[in-house]
């Protein structure tokens, strides 16, 4: 049965190179049909990856993100438009509603055009800030392409981004340089853990508006690493939105272009980087799936966890306090074409909480074994000495990974009357047990004496 299934999936994979985990309907919002030519390679790559593209103009009256109250598309690409209004179908509210229904959005900005008000308020809602004046762009006098921007220094050549933090997986790593022409820099709010930068500006970069008459930058929008060229939001329902500061990054002209960085000839790797950014946004990478979740009473005998996915979860509903419990969970990660065993970044781990209101145990789950497309994580622990209704709770929220939350409720009962140790097993009780049996023996002796004793005093009196 299984070979049949794998054969079938192989056949399917042959037909479609890759497809998103959530769906393949992709809407491309593009004002000018002539512009489509410029994004030809990018859109062609998306089609080759299995997306069904619909290219629409925001002016189109039939354009709607929803149909019968449900999403009409799974993903949306918003390319810059000349007009300041995006029409009634693409208001900030509609795009947020689209994300609430787990739709993903790739948003490309351009310093050439003013950002539509709908998108400005959308970004404001997400705590991503862009310069309010039209035409503001990011320049860097140190890392620019001296072939195309010898004078203006507004085409940045940057290495691939490093991991955000050592314990965060990097889905955007690669070899080469990325060209970021005339980007709109973004700054990110500090409060939300949902926002994450992908590509930061180098420390010497700054944002300025070429229309300013001043020949020195006096009050820049932001400088250095505070400026982000590509940033992302992943909502709690795992809907993703990526802001690409420069729409030119997505254009054919920069996909594999000769450029000069500090006198050295380099070739831009935009095609690869854009593929990584778009496949993350459209949930081809960084998607987690939880398989079977098993917990059982670990009675000392090495009872092997049943890893086969054919057997349903058959978890006990009740445990006793101070029971040894083993817990295993199967987690897979979707990677472009198929599910693979999930491996957390070094320094990071999936954690299990055993909680009643607040966690009594929070344990790092260790990878026990791997199947073809999942890792089985496990931990064993002793239930706390507190009875009540507990939860096995896994909440795994990490940057760039879809959110995982799993809960299994169990009762933890206290000791039954016959589960306590017997009194003779407690050495401190021996004195009292001894006292009882000495009393019993004394009682028996007293009864015998009372029944059968001959009067002694009379014998003494008789002799007198």
């Amino acid at each position: 049965m299984r070979w049949l299934f794998s054969l079938l999936s192989l056949a399917l994979l042959g037909a479609v190179h890759a497809v998103s985990f959530t769906g393949s309907r992709l809407l491309v919002v593009l004002e000018d049909a002539k512009e489509q030519e410029k994004y030809g390679v990018f859109l062609g790559d998306l089609t080759a990856r299995g997306f069904h593209l619909t290219v629409e103009s925001p002016k189109e009256s039939s354009l709607s993100l929803f149909k019968h109250g449900e999403r009409a598309y799974d993903h949306v690409i918003l390319l810059p438009t000349k007009s300041k209004g995006l029409g009634p179908a693409l208001t900030a509210g509609n795009i947020l509603e689209f994300m609430k229904k787990e739709g993903n959005v790739l948003l490309a900005l351009s310093s050439e055009y003013a950002t539509p008000t709908a998108l400005q308020s959308l970004l404001l809602e997400l705590d991503i800030h862009i310069p309010s004046d039209k035409g503001a762009l990011v320049v860097d006098h140190f890392n620019y392409d001296s072939t195309s921007a010898e004078e203006k220094h507004d085409v940045l050549l940057l290495p691939y981004p490093k991991s955000l933090k050592p314990d965060v997986k990097n889905y955007f790593a690669g070899e080469g340089v990325i060209a970021v022409p005339r980007a709109v820099g973004q700054t990110l709010g500090n409060d939300s853990p949902l926002i994450a930068p992908v590509l930061r500006a180098p420390s010497t970069a700054y944002s300025y508006n070429p229309k300013d008459e001043a020949d020195i930058v006096e009050d820049p929008f932001a400088v250095g690493g505070q400026l982000n060229l590509v940033s992302t939001v992943q909502a709690l329902n795992s809907a993703r939105l990526t802001v690409v500061g420069s729409s030119e990054m997505l254009q054919n002209a920069w996909f594999s272009e000769k450029a000069t960085l500090a006198g050295k000839a380099v070739k831009t790797a935009n095609r690869d980087f854009v593929e990584k950014v778009s496949s993350w946004t459209f949930k081809e990478t960084g998607v987690l799936k939880v398989g079977k979740l098993v917990h059982y009473l670990d009675e000392g005998v090495s009872k092997k966890p049943n890893a086969s996915s054919a057997v349903p979860e058959n978890n006990p509903k009740i445990y006793r306090v101070k029971n040894n419990v083993a817990f295993t969970v199967e987690i897979s990660e979707y990677s472009n074409t198929h599910l693979t065993p999930f491996v957390p970044a070094t320094g990071d781990s999936v954690q299990l909480e055993f909680s009643m209101l607040s966690p009594f145990h929070r344990l790092n789950l260790k990878p026990l074994s791997q199947t073809a497309n999942s890792t089985i994580f496990g931990a064993s622990f002793k239930t706390p000495d507190q009875h009540g209704i507990f939860n096995f709770h896994i909440k795994y929220n990490r940057p760039f990974l879809t959110n995982v939350e799993e809960k299994r409720q169990v009762t933890v009962r206290h000791f039954a009357h016959d589960e306590w140790p017997r009194s003779w097993q407690i050495s401190g009780a021996w004195v009292w047990i001894g006292g009882i049996w000495v009393t019993v023996a004394g009682w028996l002796a007293f009864v015998a004496l009372w029944l059968y004793s001959a009067p002694a005093e009379k014998i003494v009196k008789k002799t007198q």
């Binding site: 203006k152 000495d385 004195v431 009682w443 001959a454």
Partner: protein, 289 residues
């Protein structure tokens, strides 16, 4: 010579030789003053900054001091106004950067003032000195300049409490929690228990001995068994059996096994007891007790 020497840091920085660059940015006549509050313009330590090398010792900035940096930006040898003139502070441990913008006049004369209130909180609490570098750059083909010029030691007034904002929430693995169990009930060392057990058991021979000295005996056993053998055997037997039932209840029986057995034994004790005690009464009336 000057040109060459100002080239060096930018060469080191960019890591590549820009031969074609017509000229390069640098600065000249840079003075750094740390002025205590209320002191005159000329007061305070004055340091000359060198575009090639950073100051050998760190500059200290007190709670009320103001750091003043004056310099003239140059392109090639000429004083000129650049587009970008930043004083960038970097925390060496976290990599946090903050740039302060120099206001540069047309003549290339630039200045920036810095006090502790301008610094982000991370710099005030940093344990290592903060690296300060100057960045000068402009459009065109001139080589931009960036080099570390001095270290900044922020000496904070310990008496003034610092309002450190709460760390924002970031998703990461939280600290492990292991439930702390209540302490297991403990017994004293078993040797002590055994000593007291011996003392308790020792009371039985003492009791029997005392009874014996008072003249206790079982001499009428034969007489009693002779008068009412069945009643006496059953009565005393049932009392022993009752203790046996208690023992079984303690070790293995439950209440529903215990109660019927105790009822049967109790009935036997009641019936045989009345006979046996009648015999005892007869002996008393006969003056044998």
């Amino acid at each position: 010579m000057r040109l060459l020497s100002s080239f060096l840091p930018s060469l080191l920085l960019s890591g590549a030789c820009v031969v074609s660059a017509a000229s390069s940015w640098s600065f000249d006549d840079a003075t750094l003053t740390v002025q205590p509050k209320g002191a005159g313009v000329s007061a305070g330590a004055k340091e000359k900054l060198n575009p090639i090398a950073s100051l050998p010792k760190a500059v200290s900035l007190g709670a009320t001091d103001t750091l003043k940096l004056l310099l003239t930006t140059t392109e090639g040898k000429k004083a000129k106004r650049p587009h970008q003139a930043f004083l960038t502070l970097t925390d060496p441990t976290t990599g946090l950067e903050e740039s302060f913008i120099l206001s540069v006049k047309d003549s290339g004369k630039g200045k920036v003032d810095l006090a502790q209130k301008d610094l982000p909180i991370q710099f005030l609490t940093s344990s290592k000195p903060i690296q300060a570098s100057i960045v000068i750059g402009a459009f065109g083909s001139s080589t931009p300049y960036k080099s570390k010029v001095f270290d900044l030691n922020v000496s904070r007034d310990e008496n003034v409490p610092l309002a450190i904002p709460e760390k924002p929430v970031r998703y990461a693995a939280a600290k492990e929690i292991h439930h702390i169990f209540k302490e297991e009930p403990r017994s004293p060392p078993s040797i002590i228990s055994l000593v007291f057990v011996a003392a308790v058991i020792g009371t039985l021979p003492v009791l029997l001995g005392v009874w014996a000295t008072l003249g206790a005996n079982a001499s009428h056993l034969g007489k009693a068994l002779g008068n009412a053998p069945i009643s006496h055997a059953l009565f005393y037997g049932s009392i022993i059996a009752m203790e046996g039932i208690f023992f079984l209840y303690y070790t293995s029986w439950n209440l529903f096994q215990t109660l019927p057995a105790a009822g049967v034994v109790g009935l036997v004790a009641f019936l045989s007891g009345s006979r046996a005690l009648t015999e005892v009464q007869e002996r008393r009336l006969a003056g044998l007790r």
